[in-house]
Amino acid sequence: MRTLRKKHVISRALLTLVALIILLPVVLTALYSFFSPEEIKAFMETRGNYDASVWMEIKLAPRVFSLSQYYNILIEDVSVLRLLCNSAMYTVAILLGQALVIPAMAYALSRFKFRGRDAIFFIVIMLMLLPFQVTMVPNVLTLRAMGLLNTAWAVILPTCFAPFYIFLVRQFMVGLPREILEAAEVDGAGTFRCFIHVALPVCRPILGAAVALSFADCWNLVEQPLTYLAGQTQLMPLSVMFNQLTENPSGVEFAGAALYILPALLIYLYFQKDILSGIQLTELK
């Protein structure tokens, strides 16, 4: 037992280090969001100095604890909020679309036997493997044909059919004990009732995980708006515009970042257990 404990101490130390490194950026972002804009601006302007004798200050405490970054963003210049709302709009729309499409498709791919099922699943996997820039080309062709390019739909519609989540949910459903659904079938429930009342509740963990992961993707949309929206600033989500925030420092970047992180963090906290158990229960092969 003694040696075991000792090993645990080493593990703990290592993990603490890893966790610290991983948490550091988030904590620093949160911390810096309470600096006054002037201080942050001055701090950010010391960047990019290639004089070997000069160091950037390590700032761990604000000179004056200040909410003025938040005040700037929330009250004075709501453009960040407007973009945040764009982000939320995209996220909600995409999540709704995915909710309509993905569980049903995963259900069909896992619980039905029909010709072409494996072919469809193969296509899903293939699409999953392809990076965005490859699938972008066919997407653009369709969007252009439909006249949706440079509208919000261009971002929302293709992303609704994200193959990765079809794959994830399908894998989970495949791993469900057969008896649950069959019992319902025997009770005379139709496939639809089976789907709604049995399959979905049982799949709750993986659905939660999928929502959380998909939320993260949507919240971090960059490529899609950049290519489909052709620089229409008023349609851009905040994630894209952070680039510009960084380029012209205005002292409120960190509050913007913190505000942007906050919903993701809350979503993560909400779905944390689901992600873990969902992935644990998924048959990932």
């Binding site: 950026p25 620093l28 490859v134 972008m136 519609l157 873990l276 644990q280």
Partner: protein, 284 residues
């Protein structure tokens, strides 16, 4: 298993329509683009586009960088996540805080995190302080070949957690008696790891590897945020190339590059699947 095809179709329909509409049909239709010259006559040029693109320096640079980056990132994430997962698995009841904090970055919008990375990796920043305290010269991380380091680190930071969780799921499904048995047999820690843990997690390991690679192929956001549309040539990825071609409305080049890349991706993952099958068979 249900066999009623009609109701199956009902469930499939929305997704299938979407996939067909947005992916499959245009994917096939796009082949046509890649075979024409893009002039107003749209003359058929055969494989000329492909030949051109494979001679295009920027395309080759992007391809090389993408492959190199993914070849660095994937094993890195894979190995690190395995180590972390093993460590986590050992403190089963108490590890949830570490697990949660390690998974967190996966849900963090990297665009919002970029700023702090830029601060940390500045020439006078914290990372360089660490570097000099180790007795080395300062590195200007944000330009030239060194730019790869922050890009890779950002990628690892973000994707480590998900891989760890997958590994952890696999590790926790290994029945404890197996280890007890091995310990009775006198097997040490490494012996246990190699003869019990590794074989049991091969499917998950493969999945982690594939997912990491998929994500590594998508290593564009970070590059774009740090370097813009035309970053240093050390990190000029294929995605940069395609985005720029798209920006120039050069659909021929984009489609041709996309299909070339798709073929490469398929070949790589085909090979991976094949290897995994062989490995699985042999272990069984």
């Amino acid at each position: 298993m249900f066999t009623r095809k009609r109701s199956a179709l009902l469930y499939l329909l929305p997704g299938l329509i979407g996939l067909t509409l947005f992916y499959i049909v245009p994917f096939i239709g796009g082949i046509y683009y890649s075979l024409t010259d893009g002039s107003y006559k749209n003359a058929f040029v055969g494989l000329q586009n492909y030949i051109n693109i494979w001679k295009n320096e920027m395309f080759l640079l992007g391809l090389k960088n993408t492959l190199e980056l993914s070849l660095i990132c994937t094993p890195l994430v894979w190995a690190l996540s395995f180590i972390v997962a093993v460590l986590l698995n050992r403190l089963k009841p108490g590890g949830s805080f570490f697990r949660n904090s390690i998974l967190m970055p996966y849900l963090m919008p990297s665009s919002a995190m970029l700023l702090i990375w830029l601060v940390l990796f500045d020439y006078g920043g914290v990372i360089n302080r660490l570097v000099t305290s180790l007795g080395l010269m300062r590195v200007s991380w944000l330009e030239g070949a060194a730019l790869r380091v922050p890009v890779i680190l950002m990628f690892v930071w973000k994707n480590l957690g998900f891989a760890v969780v997958i590994f952890l799921a696999a590790l926790q499904s290994i029945p404890e008696p197996l280890y007890e048995y091995a310990r009775l047999e006198g097997a040490g820690f490494f012996r246990q790891a190699f003869s019990i843990t590794l074989p049991m997690v091969v499917p998950s390991a493969f999945l982690v590897f594939v997912l990491s690679w998929i994500n590594a192929f998508k290593i564009f956001k970070e590059v774009y945020f740090i370097g813009g549309a035309y970053p240093d040539e050390a990190v000029y990825t294929l995605q940069n190339y395609m985005n720029n071609m798209f920006g120039k409305l050069n659909y021929q080049n984009v489609t041709t590059a996309a299909y070339s890349f798709a073929i490469i991706v398929f070949i790589i993952f085909g090979a991976l699947f094949f290897m995994q099958k062989r490995l699985q068979d042999r272990l069984n």
